[in-house]
Assembly symmetry: C2
Homo-oligomer: 386 residues x 2
């Protein structure tokens, strides 16, 4: 592993870090500009175009919007070091007409999406500019993206496309989130989500009793699902989150549906749960004389690397060098994609904040320079010759 203190003493690195210190107002302005371009999942086009233009002006190679809508660019290395993918997602959970104007309150910036994930995109751009200004060439190539579809039903669409393209050129991937600067995620909670729709003959509750009922079938399926045993280690969970069905009290339901969520930190435990749950779903239809339709509405791969993996150790060494107090948690981020591919992946962050996914979301500007250094040093260390 790269020695962090000698890395930070290198004159070019010191220059890059000094540039970051000196340009916090510019980085903050960039985060605000990005935040004020609405970018709901599936509607990231305008923000992606802005970031692609910034990539171009920063001199990245092959700066483009790819087929998945990601803003992409490459910063070639000198050769001989491992390639690294870095990504900060473009999308927010807020509808297009949400007021995304950023308010300042002392050291805080308040706006929906400011921390999740505008400040992370701004930090990624600042990192490139700092490297440029300091004249730093990394050994390995840097594959950079601001990607689509990280939130909700986006289902990691952008990151999946990005990693499919670059996975053979990189040795690791770093996802960048705005908040929780002390956190390193190296365990990806995978999820599989289904909309399950039952149909059955139905009819009048008196005249056609006991004609098959989609609601009765659904009830039996939920009852059996609710009795599934799952391991606590590796942590694995399930949930029937939403149900609908039927038309009136005296009509035997012809249709009923449920949304089912399954999660695990372990791909095999997730696959095993899914196999057992779908068997219940299909048995209920067969035994209840109905039909079932399955729609996969969510698919986020599980995966992990151990806490002592060199990539995690490197990120922890960066934290130590910057005075951060590292903690880890399992979560679902863009890092799910490399971890699901068996590629080392982590998610690291830029600053502190709160209320993500709420209209009163905010971040602190104070930690931003440390956050930019966090990803800059990680990028340098993870592309160094071994």
């Amino acid at each position: 592993m790269v020695d962090m203190s000698s890395l930070m003493r290198a004159p070019a690195v010191a220059k890059a870090m000094a540039w970051v210190e000196a340009h916090v107002p510019q980085i903050v302005e960039e985060a605000i500009r990005i935040c004020e371009i609405p970018s709901p999942t599936f509607e990231e086009g305008e923000r992606a175009a802005y970031v692609r233009d910034r990539f171009l002006r920063l001199g990245l190679c092959a700066a483009e919007i790819d087929a998945a809508g990601n803003a992409r660019g490459v910063r070639p290395g000198t050769g001989g070091g491992p390639g690294l993918a870095m990504a900060a997602h473009l999308d927010t959970v807020f509808p297009k007409d949400t007021d995304v104007r950023v308010k300042r309150q002392g050291t805080r910036l308040l706006a929906p999406g400011i921390g999740d994930n505008s400040v992370a995109i701004a930090a990624l751009l600042a990192m490139v500019e700092a490297l440029n200004v300091a004249g730093i060439k990394t050994a390995g190539d840097l594959y950079l993206a601001s990607d689509t579809g990280e939130e909700g039903l986006g289902d990691l669409k952008g990151m999946k496309a990005f990693m499919a393209d670059v996975k053979d050129h990189v040795a690791a991937a770093v996802a960048i989130e705005g908040m929780k600067i002390n956190r390193i995620i190296h365990v990806a909670v995978g999820s599989r989500r289904y909309k399950v729709t039952y149909t059955a003959r139905g009819g009048h509750s008196w005249g056609h009793f006991p004609s098959p009922s989609a609601i009765h079938i659904l009830g039996r399926a939920i009852a059996d699902i609710s009795r599934l045993e799952v391991p606590t280690d590796p942590k694995t969970t399930y949930n029937v989150g939403v149900i609908h069905g039927g038309t009136t009290v005296n009509t035997i339901a012809a249709e009923a549906d449920m949304l089912v969520d399954m999660r695990s930190v372990d791909p095999r435990a997730l696959a095993d749960l899914e196999r057992r749950l779908l068997a219940i779903v299909e048995t209920a239809a067969r035994e209840g004389d109905g039909q079932v339709k399955l729609d996969l509405v969510g698919d986020r791969p599980a995966g992990s690397i151990p806490a002592d993996h060199p990539v995690v150790e490197t990120c922890r060494a960066v934290h130590r060098a910057l005075g951060l107090t590292t903690y880890s948690e399992a979560s679902s981020t863009d890092a799910n994609v490399p971890l699901g591919q068996g590629l080392p992946g982590v998610c690291i962050s830029i600053t502190e904040g709160a209320n993500e996914h709420r209209l009163d979301e905010y971040i602190e500007t104070g930690p931003i320079p440390v956050g930019v250094k966090n990803i800059l040093l990680a990028a340098l260390a993870l592309t160094s010759k071994r």
Copy 2:
């Protein structure tokens, strides 16, 4: 039992029947006027006021709107015969803004509510006028109502209030429906309906698993309900007709509800089913660590009299005298109320038609005079000295 052919040969009765034959256009006009006064369940006031005024002008005693919103009146008899309650419901299933203008198409009248139940109210008024014109005094008193709340969530509210008042003064009750002139209902399908609402702790599907879920509790309750055994004779049924629950796929549901329908032709079978079903509902809440709230949203008493009961025989004799081909079916009508009280009750009808509870509802005008005679002769026979 009254001899039907000698009854019909009585000059006054022949005169009343001749009046009916000669005034079909007037009866049709009355049905149209009534139909064109919107009268959804719980909003029958304007139609009730109209019928009350007609009762007044027909010389009924104690013509009034009662506390339940029924138009009521009494036609006193000469004494010595059994009292009879007769009722034709005021309400329709159609919202207030429904276009209830009546269209004529050859021998048909088309409009929402024309057959269910405007023509029955018009027939009741015509019966009184025919008795008046012919100078007929019945032996027993006639207690007449056009009643509220027969449809849907009205839960027989009007009929319940009417029968509570008159049950000690009558020996039988006749409900009048517009359609199915050949039908005599003497078996009342009773129903009990609940809205069952579960609440539970809920939480995040990953972070709080396995926190209690209202949907999982509901599913287990539905599964157990769907396995309840009920008798086919006396016919008894149940149905979970509508379900809702949860907010998002990755939220453990804090609330979920269902609408449950239970029906039987036998009050004891219905009570037994209800006891077993509510035990399931409560056990599910307890075992699933949730709470349950029960709202009784429907309560229609079951009950029946046998096919050879004198009241049924009388109605069948009237049918025979008018050339009708009697059939019987169990159903839920205003006759549920007397049958549930242990009082002889039937439901008989005025004409043919179709598509009740639909916007394209229609009736045939041809059978109307036979239908008016049907209730007139039944009224005479059922109030005669024994």
